[in-house]
Amino acid sequence: MISIQTEDFDCAAEYAALRDSGAGTGAIATFTGLVRDSGDKQDVSGLFLEHYPGMTEQVIAGLIEEASQRWDVRKARVIHRIGRLQLQEQIVFVGVCSAHRGDAFAACEFIMDALKTSAPFWKKELSEAGEHWVEQKASDVARGEAWGK
């Protein structure tokens, strides 16, 4: 299930929903991304997140599908927030249920890495000095490409 939303999410509730994925699930891996105080620049006070409605959901659905073909994925959950976010707020959640930990870790990390370089979201960093659109990082592209096909 995929949610793109302005409102915050509850990791405990999401984890509980992931646990309810059948007796075959032996492992759950989750990742949560937060707004931190330094990105392209220092003293970041918050973020503004824009997305391409429709395409975003399609791209993430494709990533979950790809993960399901490569690893044992019994259930997957992706939440990404948009709009204005303050320091330390939650931005993104990825949770994957698998039979074993290796698949859960890999599928969770793959979905997150691929989301960063292929899902149409854009971050703008806000600070007292002004605001600027974040540049894509070569290290993120490299992480995405490292998963290959």
Binding site: E50, V92, K116, T117, P120, V134
Partner: protein, 86 residues
């Protein structure tokens, strides 16, 4: 369908710097996304950056596409900077 136009959308930095979210343009025959980008860049001013040093990503009907991909009437073509979510 008698509508011979296509929709062009811009996001993030491009949307702001072009001061444009969406355009409706006539759909030319045998046109590619790259042709469309070149035509828009020729408007000059901030539009020139569409063929500048910074990469511009292309989506056609909400799927990533290359500059050589054909565009036709009814299509939704989007141009945007490299994505930075997560």
């Amino acid at each position: 369908m008698t509508d011979q136009t296509l929709t062009v959308r811009f996001f993030a930095r491009l949307r702001e710097e072009l001061g444009t979210e969406e355009l409706t343009l006539p759909a030319d025959k045998d046109q590619t996304a790259g042709d469309l980008l070149a035509a828009l860049a020729s408007r000059g001013g901030p539009w020139a950056q569409l063929q500048g040093n910074q990469p511009v990503m292309i989506a056609i009907n909400q799927a990533m596409a290359k500059p050589g991909a054909p565009v036709k009437a009814g299509d939704e073509v989007a141009f945007f900077p490299p994505v930075t979510g997560g």
